[in-house]
Amino acid sequence: MRHAISVLVDNEAGVLSRVVGLFSGRGFNIESLSVAPTMDPTKSKIVITTTGNDAVLEQIKKQLNKLINVIKVVDCTDKDYVEREMVIVKVRAEAETRAEVLRIADIFRAKVIDVSPASYTLSLTGDVRKLEGFIEILSPVGILDFIRTGTVVMEREMQGRRKL
């Protein structure tokens, strides 16, 4: 099962490599990773999405907590949370497909952020399923390249309420 783990760490040199090294050294897998400073500039937030059975996930969380620079580990999968990721996709858009690309972009509420005679570059924010759906739909048209940011997550303010 896919888990999004949010890890609050000291914003110090080498901390990311401690976290990433833990995953590679212990054979845990990383599906996506994002890192950035937080409201408190002395701390950073790392969000890792990973898969594994309960025992593996338990080890991942415990091992992360054991790192001295790790302040807090939250497995968002246990919580109500919102998640977003962004993708930038460059798609082939020549005469006969230009309109089709824009239509798809519109359906997904993607933005056109760059244009050339033969391509559109689109950006889209959403959860993983939406992004993957978008990429799947665009594939037959001809994706030239895409880049994803990795997932970021935040716990919902009101836990246990109906999702918006």
């Binding site: 000291d10 040199a13 080498g14 490599s17 401690r18 090294g21 833990l22 050294g25 025992a55 338990e58 080890q59 415990k62 091992q63 907590n65 054991k66 790192l67 001295i68 620079n69 790790v70 302040i71 807090k72």
Partner: protein
């Protein structure tokens, strides 16, 4: 406030930590620290002959005393030479602080002369590590390093100090507190869980205690012994736990696992309740995990949450310090007199069963014309003083020592368990001897392993450390040969050590004593002679080259599946 250099601040910080003995080796990147050391007559420095030796010596010092071991080495090759020692300490949870010099901050990353990214290299084999980029951080970092090394599940901490940081000036103030938001080990076990666990234990009728290095590290051998005796629970220990329960006690079953005793392995396999205390279910202990303690409710008490349910499913975990948890359980037992007596009586058939296993298959070997290595160990046990500290190398020598030396107290047996580092025993013995100049310290060695840090004989001679090295010389990398013999059709690929130095002459060349014996009737005399000599001694026991360690559980099989003599 008067300013001092980083190097002087470093020395002052060691003082504040109460450091008396330091092991190490100088070099360009630590010249300033070594210069400051010259003025610190209260800090005793031991110059080893290799940085690996320095770390193992500090490790032996730490294991023997319970204090934190300290090393100082230079950058680059000095630092990389410490890696095996650091990894050894990390696997066995030994508190060390290793200081490495580093090139000046403006050179870092430039492939400067003798630059190595030692913080990067040792990240996975330290409990934590630091690069100090600003002298203002130095006292705090040193304070944190010692604190992290000795608290919680102990371990090595490495502190990398660039040369210009050692030279920079600082108004020195040593912090009186450590503030680490993210590091708060749990010492006190959960009271409710302690009660629940005790309830399960009191109902068990085939209980076994499986005690590991955590008992040594938490100094809880007295509590463990009291607890086991109070409830009549038989005790098996891991290699790291040797000595935490008196081996002469009728409840003692010796070591478990790959080379464990028949009684211990069968007891674990048939137990209805296995109480793991400060042990981590290493694969050398469990054999095939699915068949380890298959009928038991497993209780696991450990200070490190990651150890719990890592290898084996645990029914009743308690995160906490073994000592505190045992004290909690002992307190809880007060007023449970009836249940205690019921249990004591109830386990009688179980203890009788274990006694019959002990009789059926005791540890044994056959005497012959050649010296048997086990016999040497038994004679050392008989002849050495009670407070002797024994270290070992790795291989058959290590297993025979664990099997045939009757350890009565913790911190009397220093061996590399988790990493299995050949070359550990001799420098570790030197470290233990530095801590206890008046006690007998013996490294029971193999002919292969001793050659991995044999240069440390110069250290022993220089500092008049009367360490005894008893080489069980089987002319083989014996443990590897044993596997080749059993599992690789006796194809002894590169395990012959037929070409070794003349250990007697070698000892003499260094200014130590050397003795060689090759007949069983000479063993006792050689040991007595060595023990009587005031300086370091190498004794070359020429032993039966084909002797193997039994029982043996083939790797990956259930521990009840033992090959016997």
């Amino acid at each position: 406030m008067k300013k001092i250099t980083g190097a002087q601040a470093f020395i002052e910080s060691l003082r504040q930590e109460g450091v008396k003995d330091v092991f190490g080796y100088p070099g360009g990147a630590v010249l300033d620290i070594f210069d400051a050391l010259m003025d610190a007559s209260d800090i005793h420095f031991v110059l080893t002959r290799h940085e690996q030796g320095a770390v193992h010596a500090a490790d032996g010092y730490a294991r023997a005393t319970g204090r934190t071991g300290v090393c100082i080495v230079t950058s680059g090759p000095g630092a990389t030479n410490t890696v095996t020692g650091v990894a050894t300490a990390c696997m066995d949870s030994i508190p060390l602080v290793v200081f490495t010099g580093q090139v000046s901050t403006h050179l870092i990353g430039n492939d400067a002369f003798q630059e190595a990214d030692i913080v990067g290299i040792t990240r996975p084999c330290t409990k934590h590590n630091y690069l100090v980029k600003d002298v203002a951080d130095l006292p705090r970092v040193i304070k944190e390093a010692f604190y992290i090394a000795r608290t919680g599940r102990p371990g090595p901490v490495l502190v990398d100090i660039p040369k210009n940081v050692q030279q920079a000036l600082i108004a020195f103030r040593y912090p009186d507190q450590v503030r680490l938001e993210s590091y708060n080990p749990t010492y006190r076990g959960h009271a409710g869980q302690i009660r629940r666990v005790l309830g399960v234990i009191l109902k068990s009728r085939r209980p076994v205690i499986y005690a590991g290095g955590g008992i040594v590290l938490s100094n809880s051998s007295p509590e463990l012994t009291e607890f086991a005796r109070k409830l009549n629970i038989p005790v098996t220990t891991t290699l790291m736990g040797m000595g935490v329960f008196p081996s002469g006690d009728p409840l003692a079953m010796g070591m478990l696992g790959m080379h464990g005793t028949y009684a211990a392995n069968l007891a674990v396999t048939n137990a209805d309740c296995l109480i793991a205390l400060g042990a981590r279910f290493d694969d050398r202990v469990t054999g095939k995990v699915d068949e380890f303690a298959p009928r038991a409710k497993i209780v696991h008490i450990d200070i490190d949450p990651t150890s719990i349910s890592k290898n084996v499913r645990v029914d009743l975990p308690i995160v906490g310090d073994c000592r505190m948890v045992l004290q909690g359980m002992l307190a809880e037992l007060e007023g449970k007199g009836d249940e205690v007596s019921e249990m004591q009586a109830g386990v009688a058939p179980w203890l009788a069963q274990i006694d019959s296993w002990k009789l059926e298959q005791p540890l044994r070997y056959c005497q012959g014309e050649l010296i048997k290595p086990q016999h040497v160990v038994e004679m050392v046990d008989e002849l050495a003083p009670d407070d002797t500290i024994i270290t070992t190398e790795v291989g058959q020598n290590q297993m025979w020592t664990a099997q045939f030396y009757r350890f009565r107290e913790p911190r009397h047996f220093l061996t590399s368990g988790g990493l299995g580092t050949m070359g550990y025993g001799f420098p570790a013995a030197i470290g233990a001897q530095v801590a206890f100049p008046d006690r007998t310290v013996i490294d029971i060695a193999g002919d292969g392993s001793i050659q991995m840090n044999i240069q440390e004989i110069a250290t022993a001679v220089q500092y008049k450390l009367p360490v005894k090295v008893f080489i069980l010389n089987n002319t083989y990398l014996g443990m590897v040969r044993q596997w080749q013999s059993l599992f690789y059709r006796k194809r002894y690929s590169h395990t012959s050590m037929a070409t070794s130095p003349d250990f007697v002459k070698l000892a003499e060349a260094y200014g130590a004593h050397g003795i060689r014996v090759d007949r069983p009737d000479q063993v006792k005399g050689a040991i007595l002679e060595a023990l009587a000599i005031k300086g370091p001694v190498f004794v070359d026991f020429v032993v039966d080259p084909e002797e193997d360690v039994y029982p043996m559980v083939p790797a990956g099989t259930a521990i009840c599946n033992m090959l016997l003599v």
